[in-house]
């Protein structure tokens, strides 16, 4: 008797879902998987701020797991636990989850997988998204070029992959535009979040006479090293770095994932979701340059404002160079 009731209830609920038209937000639960701590002051925190914005705007139920290594098994364990609890949208926010997400998308066709910074997708439930971070990096290069006295700028670089290389080149192009005498020296750390390797690399660059440092990693270690040495620092990801190293902080190319997360989740709810690769530029607000510190010369600030305007209205295209370094960069793309 009881079983019949249950079957009846399920049938009724399926019928109401089918006839009900647009689904409601209550039918979706979104899980976020981060590679670093949710309050790392960097990459993962930027995603977590986006997640909180998503909750505020849509009321969707979300949960996150932080510090999940870039390892297929680790990601799978976390994601499967969420799927068991009824989560049907999974955000993987680091490149290294790519293979696990591609596999799981085939295994769980009812769950939507959204992968940040990857290049794989399928036709139904697996999409990727990223932002044109090289645009604000170019702008931060303008500031760095103007701020250096020694004409030596250090770049603490993460991994030699296209995303990082095009960021360095865009930055160096900005430096070159305001200061053709300055060079950008690159040291690879092979970490996304490795305070120790980043401290070492930053110190190595400071010892060569660099007085402005830029970085691609998610910890503020480079900023702490710059602060201790009295150098300047272009942070990355979020502006939270300015608390760690207030004297050194100049500006930061930053992410604002919130609006994108709202758009994509709303498209899933109203059924207009597609698995296209999304690559948002400054015109979308996904990427931008954070407010400049007061020690940036006013003519540089004006120049940056003009270039920002030009990038947003499409009259200025920042070049994408990923195969080799441009001429004012010292270092190798194959360390």
């Amino acid at each position: 008797m009881r079983r019949r009731w249950a079957v009846g209830l399920i049938l009724i609920s399926i019928l109401t879902m089918a006839c009900g038209g647009a689904a409601s937000v209550d039918e979706y639960k979104a899980a976020f998987v981060y590679v670093g701590p949710a309050d790392d002051g960097g990459w993962s925190q930027a995603h977590d701020v986006g997640r909180q914005y998503l909750v505020e705007q849509t009321g969707i139920q979300t949960e996150y797991t932080a510090l999940v290594p870039e390892d297929a098994t680790e990601f799978r364990t976390v994601a499967e636990a969420y799927i068991e609890q009824g989560y049907n949208i999974i955000f993987g926010t680091t490149f290294g989850y790519i293979d696990a997400m591609a596999e799981m998308a085939e295994e769980y066709p009812d769950v939507i997988f959204l992968h940040c910074s990857g290049y794989l997708n399928n036709d139904t439930n697996f999409a990727n998204y990223f932002g044109k971070m090289y645009q604000p990096r170019y702008l931060s290069g303008l500031a760095a070029g103007a701020m250096t006295d020694s004409n030596k700028i250090g770049y603490v670089a993460a991994f030699p992959i296209p995303e990082v290389i095009r960021g360095i080149n865009a930055f160096a192009a900005g430096v070159n535009e305001v200061n053709p005498d300055a060079t950008v020296e690159v040291v690879w750390t092979f970490t996304w979040f490795g305070p120790e390797a980043e401290t070492q690399a930053a110190n190595a660059l400071l010892e060569t006479g660099a007085d402005v440092l830029a970085q691609h990693q998610d910890s503020a270690a480079t900023g702490l090293a710059a602060e201790a040495a009295g150098a300047k620092w272009i942070s990355y990801n979020t502006a939270y770095g300015q608390d760690s190293a207030p004297e050194a902080f100049v500006t930061a190319p930053v992410w604002d994932w919130g609006p994108y997360y709202v758009d994509i989740v709303e498209s899933i709810i109203d059924g207009t979701f597609t698995t296209e690769s999304y690559w948002g530029g400054m015109e979308t607000g996904l990427v931008s340059l954070y407010d400049l510190s007061s020690d940036v010369p006013s003519e540089t600030a004006t120049l940056i404002a003009e270039k920002t305007e030009a990038i947003i209205n499409g009259t200025l295209e920042v070049a994408i160079v990923e195969e080799e370094f441009i001429s004012n960069v010292i270092g190798t793309v194959n360390p």
């Binding site: 120790e196 070492q200 190595a204 010892e207 060569t208 910890s219 608390d243």
Partner: protein, 307 residues
């Protein structure tokens, strides 16, 4: 062409060497008593995380260092209990200590990843950019000087005092030492806990000064280099210190090679300490018949009743 900043390199060498040396010295004392503790990596992590947590919460640097030392020492007593009281395999227990220490420290430090440290271990002179060797030495922190003191006093203790003699007797021939009326278990237990405490000191040096930060796997293999260092140093404090300087130099070199303009893989440099240790072992085997200086009883549990 090559632009080498010698003072920066020297400073980084001393910092890296201090950490390696303190941990290796602790392991040396433990091994002298005949106990092999492969858990150095885990013990450093425990010292590093407990010291960091204490510093963030209390802002008291002395207390933080003390907590780091004591908790790592307490942690190593686990190894002492398993191998000395229960007479279990030292290799297995040591490896478990490494794995347990790394995971436990990750768990304990979860809320503290990326937190800013309110205090730092002070240095003698506050010099931002040392320009000569003396300034580099002055700009080191107190633990650096403590490690020099520890080196001299350990060398003295081992060679000139009754305690050193007893330790060596236990490590060389525990049965004979027992017949002479020495308390083998007690000596080994103390040596293991002292070794753990020194690993803890290396840990707080890491998170409270060298890299003022906490994240999982901060130790990144330093415990293993310290173990190799004991072999390199032939179980002698001064030779271990020389080895620490060499290995510390290699560590300081890794990120700097790129700025010097050398096209040498950082991976190659990273394996060098291990490669050197293997070469030394091979050389000693060929020329000295394998007499590396290791205590004869190392790794062998002492059963009083068995004959």
């Amino acid at each position: 062409m090559f632009d080498i900043q010698l003072m920066g390199l020297l400073n980084a060498t001393l910092q890296a060497a201090t950490l390696l040396f303190i941990a290796a010295l602790g392991e040396l004392i433990t091994e002298k008593s005949g106990i092999l503790n492969l858990g150095v990596e885990g013990m450093i992590s425990i010292g590093a995380v407990t010291g960091f947590i204490t510093a963030v919460n209390t802002g008291n640097i002395f207390l933080s260092v003390l907590v780091g030392i004591l908790s790592a020492s307490l942690f190593s007593s686990l190894h002492a209990f398993v191998t000395i009281i229960l007479k279990q395999d030292q290799t297995v227990s040591g490896l478990i200590l490494t794995i347990l220490g790394l995971s436990l420290s990750a768990l304990m430090g979860k809320q503290y990843v990326g937190k800013k440290l309110p205090v730092k271990i002070e240095s003698l002179g506050n010099i931002d950019e040392p320009t000569n060797i003396i300034e580099v030495f002055i700009s080191q922190n107190y633990i650096f000087y403590l490690s020099i003191f520890l080196m001299i006093s350990t060398a003295y203790l081992l060679k000139k005092t009754m305690f050193g003699r007893r330790l060596e007797a236990v490590g060389e021939d525990s049965r004979a030492a027992d017949s002479m009326g020495l308390n083998v278990n007690k000596t080994q237990f103390i040596a293991t806990c002292v070794g753990g405490g020194l690993s803890g000191l290396a840990g707080v040096y890491l998170t409270l000064s060298y890299v003022p930060y906490w994240t999982d796997n901060m130790t990144s293999g330093r415990g293993w280099i310290a173990l190799a260092l004991v072999i390199f140093g032939g179980w002698k404090p001064y030779r271990t210190a020389i080895g620490a300087l060499l290995f510390g130099f290699l560590e300081a070199l890794v990120p700097r090679l790129q700025t010097y303009g050398f096209e040498l893989s950082p991976y190659l440099v990273k394996i060098t300490p291990y490669a050197i240790t293997i070469i030394i072992l091979v050389v000693l085997t060929i020329y000295k018949g394998g007499r590396t200086g290791a205590p004869s009883n190392i790794g062998i549990p002492f059963f009083r009743e068995s004959r």
